[in-house]
Symmetry: D2
């Protein structure tokens, strides 16, 4: 029985990421000395995750995506958790770790779920190679998805925002991808769904939905899409933690004793 045979893996490990030799580190086939000198940090992220450097156009789009994830103020659960932990006097790395733990299915799950939706829809056609779908094919997939979710009374992931009617980041990354000729099947599908959703419910793509489509076109798996979101969001979290450390000397809390309604048994 496979699951039960946890015999030790001989302490060996196979990896394709970095080869470390005395005084030399090679990552994804490139000497780190050259990478440090020549490439942008966003390209380094791409190289690490995808195993190859992006083309110029891919690198440009990937950079837009990373920037667009950076910060949405102090109200997302991850930022609140980071500030709360930091306000208790815990070190920076602990506050970032805690923030990551609040990427639950209600908060950061959308990107992964949306990528799965777009990719499974496109994959269902069993295309060979990188063939572009025509508008009719895309429209048909979009209608299937829209009908499926509407009939179940469920929200389509990647659409709508609790605060913005038009998510300015989503609009911008899509606008740039169009200008730069980087719209593939997944983004066409996302835009076709948006047409339907917007017509009927006045709801638009949010940043998770837009980036889920663009990252799918760039060939990222849903799991790595979540990774890209995490990478993009961490600098903002660290800015919040740093601000918290400088400014506040009290614990944060979302309610105090007088805000609590006790519903337990009396005695």
């Amino acid at each position: 029985m496979k699951e039960n045979s946890f015999k030790v893996n001989e302490h060996s490990l196979k990896t394709a990421i970095s080869k470390v030799e005395p005084n030399k580190i090679v990552t994804r086939g490139y000497n780190q000395r050259d990478l440090i000198e020549k490439i942008r940090y966003s390209d380094m992220v791409y190289l690490l995750l995808k195993g190859k450097l992006p083309t110029l156009a891919e690198g440009k789009l990937f950079n837009h995506i990373l920037v667009s994830f950076c910060d949405h103020g102090a109200t997302p659960p991850s930022t609140q958790t980071a500030r709360l932990i930091s306000s208790s006097g815990s070190p920076l790395n602990a506050a970032v770790a805690g923030a990551l733990l609040s990427f639950g299915h209600k908060h950061a799950g959308a990107i992964e779920k949306t990528m799965e939706l777009y990719q499974s829809s496109i994959d269902s056609l069993n295309l060979t190679g990188d063939a572009d779908l025509d508008n009719t094919q895309i429209a048909s997939l979009a209608i299937d998805i829209f009908t499926d979710y509407t009939s179940k009374g469920e929200k389509i992931p990647g659409f709508g925002h609790r605060y913005h009617t038009v998510d300015p980041r989503a609009q911008k990354v899509i606008e740039l991808a169009i200008e730069e000729g980087m719209i593939g099947n997944h983004t066409k599908l996302a835009l076709a769904i948006e047409d339907l959703v917007h017509d009927r419910k006045n709801i638009r793509l949010n940043i998770d939905g837009a980036n889920a489509a663009l990252l799918s076109d760039l060939g990222f798996t849903p799991a790595l899409g979540l990774g890209v979101f995490i990478i993009g969001r961490i600098p903002g979290l660290i800015a919040h933690i740093n601000e918290e450390n400088m400014e506040e000397d009290e614990f944060r809390r979302f309610c105090d004793i007088e805000d609590i309604i006790y519903e337990g048994v009396g005695r």
Copy 2:
């Protein structure tokens, strides 16, 4: 008594990071739509952490630093923790969080400690403005530090590497900073200490020591220096976690039952 008066802070929060309005997000004074279009991701990180955009030369150096932190293979404790947690079937964000928790004082502490050392040494001179120190002043500070640590029999933080005799990343970032005219007092001090340490013990600056000096010259606090290290290292951690998920179906472990020597009481 201050520490005891944890009265609630009225649920308000002051921040200078992002201002969120309907359909508009402004970060550090810039509309995110413009940031997404125009700046490199490494500059976005700089903007978030420092509150202003870097100059061209600062941005170039900061990019080198971020790239140089990216990955050192599968053996650092953080990478091992990430892979171990991932091999138990936990989700990506949990594996990254666990990895962050292994940035203890033996692993990631060096960058913060080294920045404190350089900054307190330079600060002790009470310079006005950005005055450059001359070689005699730098040499004198370096000798003080070297003598202090040597007399206590302690290792100077930021020097030596368990595997490399010359850390290729440290050498490269310093080389580039020199070429790009970005060497300030802190890096001069680091290089002066390296002269002493190398002469007597054949030990050189490691990547933490080099980046600690360069980040200090760029005006980062030690706490934010650790933040920059975390930001730089996370993409590599995610690449390792992703590889682990694809390749292995057994738990990682550093020892198995037969490797354990039981030293407890007999019975």
Copy 3:
């Protein structure tokens, strides 16, 4: 749309756990002064999780269960993660937190999954009240489960151990529950499945399977079952972390540079 209406919950919170008044704390209806004086810690755990004190027999069984989860040496992923993080110089709470993050679906998932299996099987009969099932009914459910898993070629959760042919903890808690008259429908079902599995595959209930059945009989939900496992396991993790801090000054690692097989692109 429900999922999108994240409006703030007015900073209020309803709870039935503890009522805090000046100089008085009441938990689940009992003054903490009385709880501190009169009840066993295992009963306090039961009270917190279930909202009421156990009967004598329930309390006795629950105590056995908590003790039985305590420690299985240094090889489980959680213990390895705790020791690895601790060996990097991180504080105790961070090492415990990291260990919790390795309770992934391969490691700690069994208890929850097994409780779901037993409870959904029993619930499918729509019993009224606490009616005991007769042997024929139990046997029929057991055969259904056994057939279902066997036909899918899957392992039934809660059975088999990578190291023990007979898990001594599982055997003991079941033995005690029988002696103490605490076997209900879920445990009867587990034992009936064990008869089938043991006959055909020489595999027995493991500690997760045994406790999953007993906790189901005690009325715990699967989610709280995982909670009980976590509570039971933490003291052992802390013992390991403490030992690591005292004894070792090197990083733990499951492989070193020479154990790594680089499979990346050549260059």
Copy 4:
């Protein structure tokens, strides 16, 4: 240079906690089958942490201490973090892990700091064996500590509570320890300090201060004292997480967009 010689520890591990053999687990010298049958869970915790079973009186006191740590309602930072993470849809183990990360120096640090204070004070006398100090010796140590902190204008750790004027838990555990004849030098010292602090500032021992003294008398190190606090607090955290999962479908947050005062640069 010691710190730099991280050569791998040959994948071996020495431990005195548990010996795992086929079908037999021995913990701290006792067969787990016997432990499961015969001892209370609180005694198992003691055995794991201290390496030996408590005497009857020690076990009784240790049980009081564990119960007294259990829950202080929904306002401590750890509970708030647990609820916040849970409200984002993250799994139970992640929410507990996040809660542990908010045990920063402002929140859970008191117990460790207080134990260090009491133990270093008593240790400074270089007593041989378990000699009890007389009242004059204790009073003298108490005055030293009181004077030291007062002159620095600092709060003595372990005293005062933000909400209670008399912490009912502290009062109760001390009361029980007196009745049960379990007051040693460290608790005598804590009570002598309380006399001074209460006279002059109307402040009393809190639960951290009381338990720090009692755990010191029981021979726990400060690090393990924090461990006991963590063990004691986790069941309460899990009760809160479980309640959060059942009751609420919104994110918790300590402030919403309209509560934020933006202080950044205008543009």
